[in-house]
């Protein structure tokens, strides 16, 4: 299988502070890759680097084209959707307007209408609240909205930044179930960053363990999940 996202020797920095020191990783077409690691290891920065939100060096290729150095909005338009850290809700716009913005780059009206129904099918609570100001939603609902907004782009690659953060375990279960469905039915590839390593390893097929901006270990999700010492030292379960 070809790699949809192929990253080589990725360095990233915020001003003078270097955060990533030469990372190599990738996402297979149709696959789910997860990046695990402690707080401050550079997980969020990795996702930001992929869609051009931080200064980077190194090679980032998406579907065979180099995207490093491009503007965020141009990368997004290639089909890379990002569910950001902090959810990125447009708080004073309605839920429906938030979703409409997700489809900003598309012009296929009939398909967009169908996708609205699909999102409301995944998350019925969003339908109930579609006229409500998005800032008044609960944390879980805003996370659902962030995921739906990203999917409205009809992405080929979905970047997920700690989707389980601050959510009740039952909602996390629901959310991950939907990720699996989306991955299997729509063939959306995913790059998932998570604190909840157990959940992430169950969903993903490939995993990278990150420590202070370097890949410490990589392999199939199954392998990494089985390794007793890794589990105890790095994944905490």
């Amino acid at each position: 299988m070809a790699r949809l996202l192929d990253v080589r020797a990725l360095h990233a920095q915020y001003g003078p502070t270097k955060v990533l020191h030469g990372m190599d990783f990738g996402v297979e077409e149709g696959g789910i890759t997860t990046i695990l690691g402690a707080n401050g290891a550079g997980k969020t920065t990795t996702l930001r680097a992929v869609c051009g939100m931080v200064k980077t060096q190194g090679e980032i290729a998406f579907a065979g084209t180099r995207i490093d150095g491009r503007a965020t909005e141009s990368i997004v338009r290639l089909g890379v959707a990002h569910v950001p850290d902090g959810r990125g809700t447009f708080v004073s716009l309605s839920v429906e307007e938030n979703l409409r913005l997700g489809a900003h780059t598309r012009s296929d009206k009939a398909q967009i209408a169908l996708d609205f129904e699909r999102m409301y099918g995944y998350f019925p609570r969003l339908k109930e609240r579609c006229r409500q100001q998005a800032g008044t939603l609960s944390g879980g609902e805003q996370q659902m909205l962030a995921v739906s907004r990203a999917l409205m782009l009809r992405p080929r690659l979905l970047l997920l930044d700690e989707p389980s953060f601050g959510l009740a375990p039952r909602i996390v279960q629901e959310l991950f179930e939907i990720f699996r469905v989306i991955n299997q039915t729509d063939r959306v590839s995913m790059l998932l960053v998570e604190q909840n390593a157990a959940m992430a390893l169950r969903l993903a097929d490939h995993a990278y363990l990150l420590e202070t901006g370097r890949v410490l270990m990589s392999g199939s999700a199954e392998e990494l999940g089985r390794d007793e010492s890794i589990r105890r030292s790095y994944l905490g379960y």
Binding site: M53, V76, G88, V91, R100, L101, G102, H104
Partner: protein
Amino acid sequence: MDVLLHQILSGLATGGIYASVALALVMIYQATHLVNFAQGELAMFATYIAWSLVQAGVPYWAAFFLTVAIAFALGVVIERVLVQPVENAPILSVVIVFIALLVILNSLAGWIFTYTIKPFPSPFPSAPLFGNTYVTSHELGSIGITLAVLALVFVFFRFTPLGLAMRAAAQNPVSSRLVGIRVGWMLALGWGLAAAIGAVAGIMVAPTVFLEPNMMSGILLYAFAAALLGGIDSPGGAVLGGFIVGVLENVVGSIIGTELKLTVALVLIVGVLVIRPSGLFGKVLVTRV
């Protein structure tokens, strides 16, 4: 009573002008959190363009729409060429750019068109409409046009995808980029729209205040008072504030004398900032420190 009614009605007419300029100020404020001090001079310059077109024999309404289009383009170009390079600069640098723009446009107008005061035509008949004695046709017409512009702006922002994208870009640029909105262009478009709205205001006010390079300086002050009164981040508030300031200015002016008219605006600005800095409809900004 008659006098008062007359004052209120013509106050509404000038209030409409203030409302338009205030709306232009608010639009740029929402996107950049800065007050564009050159907004009035942009409108003045656009009015000179309209005047030149009319002088060249272009029919009034053709000149009107052509000017609005030119002002729009001018706004976009100014944003791209002059404002965009200082996007991430400290606030003071940007303010200096705005003030430079004000001075440059003012002098440029004086240089090209001279400082001689010029009459500007009104598209409306000189006889009062419907035989009323309270309000001139031009006042009534300019209220109508102002309301039409405001309605158009409202519909644009509320119901079109581009309007939605512009609101999103103003509110949350990071998330906007993540859904593929070209935020830089949305800002330029905002400048274009603000300049176009200002052009309409300039053309509508020119027949009453006459055309000269400093014609908008007082108006900008009133518009600023209007925007503050309504809440500098609330477009609806700015519009309402414009009408309130227009009426207040006229009525108070007729009681205490026209020399003190401009004082009304200044008292309002200071009063709002002291008593209720967020204005009537503005959001109160709460920051954790």
